[in-house]
């Protein structure tokens, strides 16, 4: 080999080795940190340089029709929600998301939230507040107290500290309220505090309630147990429309404590994806020595599984936030939230729905319809047949006598600063002002158990109520998204491994 050829080969072999070591360094991320971001309004690099680069770690926004990328300007979000994928070379335990934005939103779209896909089976996102119009601008006449990121807003100044308020609320909440449910929360759990209803007023009865409709997919229910025994039963049916096996977990919680559960494996002989319904399987949970009180029933499964003839020894049973019924005959429900979001996934479910007597025509599948009800404690829903997914921020029940909602009202777009509220408790970082009227918000996520596919986390940006066909709902300009991931450094891992 001539010396020239030898030299040039050594040169490219070293170059290849450097590239390999660089990729390995990025994969290991020895510092335990990884930053990914995009400044949408930065001057774009020339197309030639652009073509030499790899792709960005922050993907393009999807669905593309919900956002407009301007030339050297911000990304304009026109509808809710939009998604980004964020590539990371390895998994990290914490993420700090910084968003610089300019909201042009109305009172019908007062909230911006961002988060990551936490569970890909239940399609659950862990969301945190980016901007809340009520907390930023809507409570100027209220007296506010702050303790770190925790804020208490009082219509009339009665407390000097949040501690005092929480102490009184824990012991005697009814003495503070001029109306029931006078405390609203935002991004804050009042775990360990009394529920937002008077349990003493509930009817004590040991009779069983049989839910007359078949319920499809994952659901959560609240129920009240007046005795010390729980008797739960139902029939599970696998529709076998999806390609995966469909296991079922039924869990009963008192607060955050699991008190009873059942796991049912999918042992059906039908082929997954064939659409052949499996035989119905009886499921039962019987548990004694429980304290009378409020319980939550978690029915965790895929959309393939239905539960029929759900029976519980309670008079109070309410589905939380969502209900999907699969019956052929007329259905009547009530809800305590003043609005209803409706979606059909199947053409057979298209129909006219009545909400407080108002007709909502469901004409398209996959489109989310929304309707508002009258001012009332609860609202009537009437359907000709099942198949529709009904959602709101309240609960759904068979009638007023079985309605039960222990959750505090949430300060969101449906509630707003309503006259019933005297106090608002929020865990919220106020947005920071930047140049050119931009705002920036910083969110902290624990990403250890978040879903990550092919090296990508799934980031959602949600502005509930923002729709393409409603120009009055506004839009959002995003100047920059920056995500800093943190995890264990290589040095920490080595020390751990050597037990130093």
């Amino acid at each position: 080999m001539s010396s020239f050829k030898y030299k040039i080969r050594i040169f490219w072999l070293i170059l290849l080795l450097i590239i390999f070591l660089f990729l390995l360094w990025q994969k290991v991320s020895p510092s335990g940190e990884w930053t990914c971001g995009q400044d949408f309004s930065a001057n774009s690099i020339s197309s030639l340089t652009d073509s030499l680069d790899g792709r960005s770690c922050l993907s393009k926004v999807t669905p593309i029709e919900r956002a407009v990328a301007t030339n050297n300007g911000p990304l304009i979000v026109l509808a809710d929600p939009v998604y980004f994928s964020i590539f990371t070379p390895r998994a990290f335990s914490r993420a700090e998301v910084e968003i610089t934005y300019r909201p042009h939103l109305s009172s019908s779209t007062p909230i911006i939230e961002a988060g990551f896909l936490a569970d890909n089976k239940l399609w659950r996102y862990d969301l945190q507040p980016v901007y809340n119009l009520w907390l930023e601008k809507g409570l100027k006449d209220w007296q506010s107290l702050s303790m770190g990121s925790l804020h208490l807003f009082q219509r009339q100044a009665k407390f000097d500290s949040i501690f005092d308020f929480l102490g009184v609320w824990q012991n005697d909440s009814s003495s503070l309220c001029s109306t029931p449910r006078c405390l609203a929360v935002y991004n804050f759990d009042l775990d360990g505090f009394p529920p937002a209803l008077n349990l003493g007023q509930l009817k004590q009865s040991s009779e069983s309630l049989v839910f007359p409709y078949a319920i499809r997919g994952a659901h959560q229910f609240y129920f009240y147990l007046s005795g010390s025994t729980l008797n739960l039963s139902g029939e599970l049916i696998d529709r076998n429309e999806g390609k995966d096996k469909d296991s079922v977990t039924i869990a009963v919680y008192s607060g955050t404590r699991l008190v009873a559960s059942a796991e049912i494996e999918d042992k059906g002989t039908e082929i997954e994806g064939s659409g052949d319904w499996g035989e119905s399987k009886l499921v039962q949970i019987n548990k004694e020595d429980l304290a009378p009180g409020l319980y939550r029933l978690d029915f965790r499964t895929s959309d393939d599984v239905m539960i029929k003839n759900l029976s519980l020894n309670t008079q109070y049973l309410s589905a939380l936030h969502k209900i999907w019924l699969e019956n052929k005959e007329n259905i009547h429900l009530i809800t305590d939230a003043p609005y209803l979001q409706v979606k059909a996934l199947n053409p057979a479910a298209l129909q006219q729905l009545h909400f407080d007597g108002k007709v909502l025509n469901i004409k398209e599948i996959y489109y989310q319809y929304e309707t508002k009800g009258e001012e009332a404690d609860w609202h009537n829903i009437d359907l000709n047949n099942g198949g529709l997914i009904l959602e709101n921020n309240g609960v759904f029940a068979l009638g007023g006598e079985s309605l039960l909602n222990p959750d505090y009202p949430r300060l969101d777009r449906s509630l707003g600063v309503s006259p019933q509220l005297d106090y608002i408790l929020a865990d919220y970082e106020l947005a920071q002002s930047e140049r050119d009227n931009y705002l920036s918000s910083r969110l902290d996520f624990s990403t250890a158990n978040f879903y990550r596919e092919k090296g990508n986390y799934n980031l959602i940006l949600s502005i509930p109520g923002l729709k393409l066909d409603q120009a009055s709902s506004g839009y959002l300009e995003i100047k920059e998204i920056k995500v800093r991931f943190y995890g264990n450094s290589l040095w920490f891992k080595i020390r751990n491994w050597l037990n130093l």
Binding site: S2, F4, K5, I8, R9, W12, L15, L16, I19, F20, F22, L23, Q26, K27, S51, L52, D53, G54, R55, C57, F87, P89, K454, G455, N456
Partner: protein, 58 residues
Amino acid sequence: MKKGVIVKEFFYFLSALLLLAVLVELIFPGLFVLFFNLAFLTALWLISALLSLLYVRQ
């Protein structure tokens, strides 16, 4: 003579780089394409292949 060597070695280098790309993408999906434009590298590799064929003929 020197030009021919450079063209051939460039072709070998790009071939090795593309092999590395395939291996990295198989083991760690998304890592190589984050830093390198695979379509651009493949185009360069095709051009270098054509050029080296020309020089071999000469």
